[in-house]
């Protein structure tokens, strides 16, 4: 059974600090996706990582993918309050069905 695990599940951090969210998965997929969700809202696409070694950055967020380790990281640099949200990673079901398997989410709270 394909599993996607995120840690930590909850993260409270001070503004200005750095931190990393981890996403481990059990399939051999080489595609991984990161999403952001604000309370009461839908999911918004942040990053699409399509190959081993892929690294993408947007503002204070940087995502990377290591398909050999089956690990993706979402690194937060100098956190600000506006980054408070829940972050999900997701992996393709490589059976070619275009099904996505989501992690449990990491709820991030940045304290001013």
């Amino acid at each position: 059974e394909l599993k996607v695990e995120q840690n930590p599940l909850f993260l409270s951090m001070q503004e200005g600090k750095n931190y990393t969210i981890y996403c481990n998965y059990s399939t051999t997929s080489d595609r991984l996706y990161w999403y952001r969700q604000d309370p009461g809202k839908s999911l918004e696409s942040l990053f699409v990582l399509l190959s081993n070694g892929a690294v993408k950055q947007e503002g204070r967020l940087m995502a990377s993918l290591d398909t050999k380790a089956r690990l993706s990281t979402l690194h937060i640099t100098a956190a600000v309050h506006d980054l408070s949200a829940t972050y999900f990673c997701a992996v393709d079901d490589i059976g070619g069905t275009y099904k996505y398997i989501f992690g449990t989410g990491t709820r991030l709270k940045v304290l001013a």
């Binding site: 009461g40 809202k41 839908s42 696409s45 275009y98 996505y100 989501f102």
Partner: protein, 110 residues
């Protein structure tokens, strides 16, 4: 601009009612999905569709059905709504490389 729309943002229905949730995409995608999201349970796949008139069960199809008569529209049907179907429902449409989410429908069954 890519768009997935859902018919209602908020919906309140009574137990036993038949409920229709509509999802429309304007990207000519073949693949569309319905998820529900509940606290502590993450996103769970209800049904998905690869093409018009085609449907596949996801992980939790019980109590739901779907309809896809046109490529752009994927409907989720609750045949007889129950209180345990109170949830946030999310529709998505996918290309080869990306999944686009609708705004979600928060359904409350009383």
């Amino acid at each position: 601009d890519v768009k997935v729309t859902q018919s209602s943002r908020y919906l309140v229905k009574r137990t036993g009612e038949k409920v229709f949730l509509e999802c429309v995409q304007d990207m000519d995608h073949e693949n569309m999905f319905w998820y529900r999201q509940d606290p502590g349970l993450g996103l769970r796949l209800i049904y998905f569709s690869y093409d018009v008139k085609m449907k596949e069960k996801g992980d939790i199809p019980e109590g739901y059905s779907v309809s896809r008569e046109k490529k752009e529209r994927f409907s989720l049907i609750l045949e007889s709504a129950s209180t345990n179907q109170t949830s946030m429902y999310l529709c998505t449409s996918t290309s080869s490389y990306e999944q686009y989410f609708g705004p979600g429908t928060r359904l409350t069954v009383t």
